[in-house]
Amino acid sequence: MQRNHNHTTIVTIEKVIDETPTVRTLVFSDEIMSNVLPGQFAMVWIPGINELPMSIMISKESGKAAFTVRKHGPASTGLFNIKEGQQIGVRGPYGNSFDVKKGNLLLVGGGTGLVPMMRLLTFVKPTDNVTVLIGAKSKDEVFFESLANNLLENNPHKVIVSTDDGSYGEKGYVTDLVEKLVSENHYDGVYVCGPEIMMHKTVLAANSRKIFVQASLERMMKCGVGICGSCCVGEDLVCKDGTIFDGEHLSQNKEFGIFHRNKAGILENY
């Protein structure tokens, strides 16, 4: 029987990798999830706790996929605490995917926003010149730096880390680095996923220079399939129209970078 991608499939966590004290990667076998497009996400059921949207992380092994989760509220903490051998549910894949350009590419990721960037790196061509910016608050929150370097070993590339407190890599906000890079270099594509303010600034920086830019938005999600409306940003539904939007489109959106909705659906400022 064909799998109904809107019905939860149960998978067993086979490996748990500590990325930082608050970020873990959970690996599982799933042919469909292992082959998704860069930027796609799944709805992840933590039985008895909650269900969360999660970008689908790559795994080194074929036929496997992963989630990289930051422990935050009760839901993500529940996922963070899943042990090897325990089961979770997944449905999806959902959402559109990055439009992968050729040439000079700039990838900007903050925290678990790096997850779709790692899969995007598996889609670049060997001729592409790729710069990856990793933003973090401080040294012990940095992860995926060496993974990014490994994935790019056959490419002309740079992986630059910046920390807000300067405890590792460059000091300062990653968006300052973005501003600097796009003003000094030509890029064929800029891709960003992370906190909304970071995405907003990156999109502004690229838009003002007419550089192709895409951001992967995050909103409260209940259904993931365009039914509940909880993920709306202006007239767009993040789960269905996105999660990935072009910078040009986002420049028309009245809510991007300014408002998001809480669980009751009330607009709140960022």
């Binding site: 939860t8 089961q87 209940k222 039914i227 007239e235």
Partner: protein, 303 residues
């Protein structure tokens, strides 16, 4: 002459007979605009309460296959006051405001909030099958239904619709009581109380355990209800439940509905579904030589 797909439910006039059902994509004016543009004759808001509600934790929605969906969102909503503020700028979209509450006063208070908004009608949700003290628990209590409808009617001149569903008392009694109390139209039906269990983890999938079944599976049940209501009462009916094609829509007209709502079909076919259905209805009317929707309403009862 090109047939017209405009329709009316008592005083309510609609440009197109297909509406977005309550709870689907129903919390943002911008989205309402988009759905109206894509073909819906009106949009029904998420059911609103006097205060904002967070709803249940996830999982709250999933597919059971074959066009069937289960949900227990738990009526999460921003509350009537916030919502009224949001839709105040609206002039273009026919908005039907759905309301839930436990006592008559709740409805009076909420309707007040919308005094300066363009509201096409209010829809009283007497039929949500998975939230305590509101929805079906109200709809199953004829005395309460009477008080609520009476209070709502006294609070406004805007038409009031009652939305019914399959509860623990006979829904036709609820319909009868609502009509006696002055209701202007009936929407039938809401989701049907249901459940799904994951056999691997051996737990109910929805965090609330029980939820509401919607979509294709409930279509034959909803159609039966519309036929039963239209056979027993003389009241404008909005058919709802499992409609995803123009044939479905026409079935509901033939059973006695003057307009229809849909929700789950959006999950399978996205919002093109509104325009697709409008076009299908139009073609059918051309073929059968009808110039108005009214001509086919209730025709199946003649046979």
């Amino acid at each position: 002459m090109e047939p017209s797909i405009t329709t009316s439910l008592g005083q309510i006039q609609l440009e197109r007979p297909v509406m977005l059902a309550s709870g689907i994509l129903g919390i943002s004016l911008d989205v309402f605009n988009r759905i109206h543009r894509s073909g819906a004759g009106a949009v029904v808001t998420k059911s609103l309460s006097t205060e904002p509600w967070d709803g249940y934790p996830n999982p709250t929605i999933f597919s059971v296959g074959g066009g069937g969906w289960m949900n227990a969102v738990g009526l999460s909503n921003p509350g009537a006051p916030n919502f009224a503020k949001m839709i105040k700028p609206n002039h273009d979209v026919p908005i039907i405001v759905s309301l839930v509450g436990s006592i008559p006063k709740d409805f009076e208070l909420m309707i007040e909030q919308f005094e300066n908004c363009k509201v096409t009608a209010y829809e009283l949700n007497l039929s949500c099958p998975h939230v305590a003290k509101v929805g079906l628990e109200v709809g199953d209590d004829p005395e309460l239904v009477k008080e609520i409808v009476t209070t709502a009617k006294n609070s406004t001149n805007v038409p009031i619709i009652a939305k019914v569903g399959l509860g623990t008392t006979h829904y036709l009694k609820t319909v009868g009581t609502a009509i006696e109390s002055g209701i202007d139209a009936i929407t039938a039906i809401n989701t049907v109380r249901a459940m799904a269990i994951d056999v691997e983890t051996q737990r109910p999938i929805l965090s609330n355990k029980f939820g509401g079944l919607s979509g294709t599976p409930i279509k034959p049940i909803a159609l039966r209800c519309v036929y039963e209501i239209s056979s027993k009462y003389d009241i404008p009916i909005i058919g709802c439940g499992g409609i995803s094609t123009w044939e479905d829509a026409v079935e509901f007209f033939l059973a006695g509905a003057s307009a229809i709502q849909l929700g789950s079909a959006v999950g399978d076919n996205w919002i093109n579904v509104f325009d697709d259905i409008n076009k299908g209805i139009l073609k059918y009317m051309q073929k059968k030589n009808y110039s108005t929707i009214k001509e086919m309403v209730g025709l199946a009862k003649k046979s």
